[in-house]
């Protein structure tokens, strides 16, 4: 029997989508294999510890012997601990000084560096370089420069006829010196973020404002600054969170001293948990800090949302 010629059909995927669906179903296994390392690490060393910390904060624990349930005692003790309230005050003062100053210097420098002048690249590099140094390196370097006896700073002051300063060993100066060191290393971050944002200010908007007769000051006030608002909000949040969590620099330079004048919250937590063997107490302080950070983030987000509404209202 002669074979019938086979009808010419394209052997494409059949209209029935079952194979694709099967392929998708088989994919669940692959997907879980892909995400499992990340899920294991992130959840295991983040979600679980968050709950663990909460439980720990209701216990008296030295991390070695079995711990004892004490309810809210840790939090009650925290509220009355003068060392903790001093740490809170120090941290707030540090933040309140550092955040606005770093933003202000950052914005001013970015506006200047946004001009077409020679060597701008070099200036930007020099201003940014300190940012990549570790807090340890900064701390060790400035401990040396500001050393009351052997430091270059007092050497220069001596030559200028100014009396020697205590700097990091003077309780009334230490925290301000720490702010200055962080400004030295952290301003560059604000500069590059603002510079990147300035690139995004629409050129057409500037041209239009110029045509309408806007001077430089008007351009800055009514065109440039408003378009930078989202970046400013981000920077406020970012810098505030960074400075509320400052630790490394304090550990390297002053270890919280002199006379507790630079004890910040994280230093207090570290000391309680890993030096004084009162981990439960440290955990309760960590929870207070975490709640404060969440409040800052929430407040900033609220401001941002309100700002956006106002902008949209103005546009319509």
């Amino acid at each position: 029997m002669p074979r019938l010629p086979r009808p010419i059909t394209v052997e494409g995927p059949p209209p029935d989508p079952r194979p694709l669906r099967r392929k998708r179903r088989r994919e669940t296994g692959t997907a879980w294999a892909f995400v499992s390392p990340a899920v294991l690490i992130v959840l295991g060393l983040s979600i679980v510890p968050v709950i663990w910390s909460l439980l720990l904060s209701f216990q008296a624990s030295d991390l070695v012997t079995p711990s004892r349930w004490v309810g809210l005692d840790n939090y009650r003790a925290l509220a009355q601990d003068p060392n903790f309230s001093q740490a809170v005050r120090n941290t707030l003062l540090y933040t309140v000084l550092y955040v606005p100053l770093s933003l202000l210097f950052g914005l001013a420098l970015a506006l200047v560096l946004n001009r077409r002048i020679r060597l701008v690249g070099l200036y930007r590099t020099l201003i940014f370089v300190p940012f990549v140094l570790s807090a340890t390196a900064q701390g060790v370097l400035f401990s040396f420069i500001l050393d009351p006896e052997f430091g270059a700073a007092n050497s220069v002051l001596h030559r200028l006829g100014v009396s020697s300063q205590g700097f990091l060993s003077d309780p009334s100066q230490a925290l301000l010196v720490l702010v200055a060191i962080t400004l030295w290393s952290g301003t560059g971050f604000c500069v590059v973020v603002y510079l990147a944002a300035l690139q995004d200010v629409p050129q057409s908007l500037i041209e239009a404002a110029r045509l309408d007769g806007a001077g430089r000051r008007h351009l800055l006030r009514h065109v440039t600054l408003p378009t930078l608002t989202p970046v400013t909000v981000f920077l406020v949040l970012w810098q505030a969170i960074q400075s509320l969590q400052v630790f490394d620099l304090v550990y390297v330079t002053t270890k919280g001293g002199p006379l507790g004048s630079t004890t910040v919250i994280v230093y207090f937590i570290w000391e309680q948990a890993f030096k004084n063997a009162t981990a439960g107490y440290g955990a309760s302080a960590a929870y207070v800090l975490a709640v404060a950070l969440a409040l800052v983030a929430g407040a900033v987000r609220l401001v941002r949302r309100r700002g956006r509404h106002r902008l949209e209202g103005a546009r319509s």
Binding site: V35, W238, A286
Partner: protein
Amino acid sequence: MTATSARPGTADPVRGVLDPPAAVERRRPRLPFSPWHLLLAPLALVFAVPLVWLVLSSVMTNAEINRFPPALWPSGIDLGGYRYVLGNAMFPRWFANSLIVSAVTVAANLVFGSLAGYAFARMRFAGSRVLLGLMLATMAVPFQLTMIPTFLVMKKLGLIDTLGALIVPSLVTPFAVFLLRQFFLSLPRELEEAAWIDGCSRLRVLWRIVLPLSRPALATVAVLTFLTTWNDLTWPLIAINHDTQYTLQLGLTTFQGQHHTQWAAVMAGNVITVLPVLLAFLGAQKTFIQSITSSGLKG
């Protein structure tokens, strides 16, 4: 028309309105350079001088540093500090430790971050939304909240006082997963779908098609992971006690505490600690700055 407006001397009212700054500049008395340099040069100096001092003091003799008032400029290049730090102290060991921890952490973040980021970007699976939400939420958890239990976990695993304790908690960060996921989402889908339907495995698609297109995002993850790992002090301080397992940061601060008067050696150690980061930054400045700003602006 173009020729008319370009001809010099032609009265062109439109040009006049468009270019007021040029007219103003012509009247100004001319400096051989922009007046902004008068402000910028001293400012840049303020940022540069401490770093210059770091290098200068590392090649001074202790006698030069310890007299009062101390010398501001070395009389010659004295490598005594470096010799001490590289010979007697454990800096070479600490350098190697830092290098191992940073290299493994960066590599692990690239691998696991890509895998998870890709799954979250392109694959639909049960629980993906919840997991992604949880991952995002953990980005907001401050480290101080997790450090005590993480210490206890590492102790249970027997990793305290080993480099493992430094590596395991940061094998993959939610930041890496999220950043790579966002980048993968921005890539055109068609290429991958075609290869996938042709029978390529997801892993092959990721390796052959997606990752070669994702170099900028991978560079960002690598740069930021390296920077935070190399520079970290808090976690090594908690997890490491024995000086053979120190990282450079921990070693440097301990060394400073023990050699308080040997500033030349301390500064030599400090130069060694910052050199890798500085060289990496100067070598790939554009990538560094882009990574740091882009991660910032997206946040």
